[in-house]
């Protein structure tokens, strides 16, 4: 268990790359959840030498807090440049917390077809699960008070870091 205030996203990424290499079978596809997960998937796609672009998933249309929060602002589109049916998919996100985002992401994926399998890879697991969801690969496990928010940031040079507020 690492302390939250010196999380090195770049160092954790090296672990994520190794984990995803292990999880992704030949013919499998990477799908990143916007926005942090999509950044990671983009980089993983390149570092794993995979052709084309990874899938990008927006969960805006499957959120379970729609009736309280409404539609969030800049809704990015889901783009899956491959056939989902029968494919092994590694879902990538920056932080795993309650599991609600992953629930929504799985529903969103199913709108496009029936995958052969979905595995989850994240940089950070901060506990606090509210649904029966687990990551196949989490490069760091941290404890963070419920009132703190953690998210991935990317600078102009493409370097990743964590913001905790």
């Amino acid at each position: 268990m690492s302390a939250a205030d010196h999380l090195d996203a770049e160092a954790l990424y090296v672990g994520l790359l190794a984990g995803v290499r292990r999880l992704l079978p030949p013919g499998g596809a990477l799908v990143g959840i916007t926005t942090g997960g999509a950044w990671l998937a983009e980089r993983l796609q390149k570092d794993l030498g995979l052709p084309g672009a990874p899938g990008v998933l927006s969960i805006a249309l499957h959120r379970d807090d729609f009736s309280q929060r409404g539609l969030s602002g800049g809704a990015a589109h889901t783009k899956l440049p491959f056939d989902v049916d029968g494919r092994h998919i590694v879902l990538v996100d920056d932080v795993l917390y309650t599991g609600r985002t992953i629930r929504a992401a799985v529903n969103e994926l199913y709108d496009f077809g029936r995958p052969a399998s979905i595995a989850l890879a994240v940089l950070v697991d901060r506990g606090g699960r509210e649904l029966p969801i687990a990551a196949a690969c989490a490069t760091a496990t941290i404890e963070l008070p419920a009132d703190k928010r953690i998210r991935l940031a990317r600078d102009a040079a493409g370097r990743l870091s964590f913001e905790i507020r």
Binding site: L61, G70, L71, H77, T78, D111
Partner: protein, 320 residues
């Protein structure tokens, strides 16, 4: 009509009803168009349905018949997973003498979450929005000569799709401007989104000079009206205008203000031709133009569903 504040907006200036484009800020219009872009992609999925309005009941209240508009609202609501109830009000309770507000009170007691209202009286959707339960949302699907906001928004979506930037455009609206709620909604939306030149084109009986007060350029000459236009919006010529002595004859009208290939050639080479439908081929627009490669009349219909999904999901997500 607005009273103290715009009844479409809550205290945080979020949209809770869509009654008219007039008075809505550009940011709200752009937000609706951006959201519609998201929903357009839903049509390409295996499952053409998202669960945003699951468990909600949308009542289509068409006091005036319009199969097409009602159908697009029905499809939009169903793609959002709402339960849709179509009431053929024109032929039911109001015909038995029930007042509008009694009808609304009854339907509210059936736990409606949203009313989509088409009415021949201008302002009817406002009246409903002011008297329904606070959690109920109202969408104006066309009221009298006043407003048809979702048509206006889908026209804006279409223009943005083909032309991207509103601030350089010349848009000509041709036909019966004075009786048209579509024209009125388009003019308000185009003005809000920063279109520098809006032309209202047609005969004096249908395009009176005082339209200038809406900030449009009035043209009684078709050639002047469409010359160098980027967008031409043709309006349907309603038959009753013809019989009402406002116009000489359909043939005469077509010759002067009907859009044919020769008149279209006066516009910019990449001009798009729009029409809210239903079209009268050979009355306001020539068949070759309807089916030609500058026509975007059918894409308008497709965009219309995405725009209505956007409107319904945005207002349903905002609390009073």
């Amino acid at each position: 009509m607005f009273g103290r504040r715009n009844p479409q907006l809550n205290a945080n200036d979020e949209l809770i009803h869509l009654l008219s484009i007039e008075g809505l800020p550009a940011a709200t219009l752009q937000h609706i168009l951006d959201t519609a872009g998201t929903f357009l992609s839903v049509n390409d999925r295996d499952v053409k349905k998202v669960p945003l309005l699951r468990g909600k009941s949308v009542f289509n209240l068409f006091f005036e018949n319009s199969t097409r508009t009602r159908t697009t609202f029905e499809i939009a609501a169903k793609r959002l997973s709402a339960d849709v109830i179509n009431l053929d009000i024109a032929r039911s309770s109001t015909a038995k003498g029930e007042s509008l507000l009694d009808t609304i009170a009854n339907l509210s007691a059936m736990h409606a979450d949203m009313f989509v209202v088409r009415h021949s009286e201008s302002g009817a959707p406002y009246l409903i929005a002011q008297h329904c339960a606070p959690h109920v949302h109202v969408v104006n699907a066309g009221d009298g000569r006043h407003s048809h906001p979702t048509q206006g928004l889908l026209d804006m979506y279409t223009i943005r799709h083909y032309k991207q930037d509103f601030t350089q455009l010349t848009v000509a609206i041709v036909g019966d401007i004075v009786h048209s709620r579509v024209a009125r909604s388009d003019i308000h939306a185009l003005t809000t989104l920063g279109v520098p030149e809006i032309r209202a084109v047609g005969p004096k009986t249908l395009v009176p000079g005082d339209l200038k007060e809406m900030g449009v350029r009035v043209c009684h000459d078709m050639a002047e009206g469409v010359r160098d236009a980027d967008v031409i919006i043709m309006l349907r010529l309603q038959n009753e205008r013809m019989s009402g002595a406002m116009l000489p004859s359909a043939g005469e009208y077509f010759k002067t203000f009907g859009l044919d290939a020769a008149k279209l050639a006066l516009a910019k080479p990449d001009a798009i031709v729009m029409h809210p439908g239903p079209i009268n081929r050979g009355v306001e627009i020539d068949s070759t133009v309807v089916d030609g490669n500058q026509s975007v009349i059918l894409p308008q219909v497709t965009f219309g569903i995405a725009v209505r999904m956007a409107v319904m999901s945005i207002i349903a997500g905002n609390s009073p």
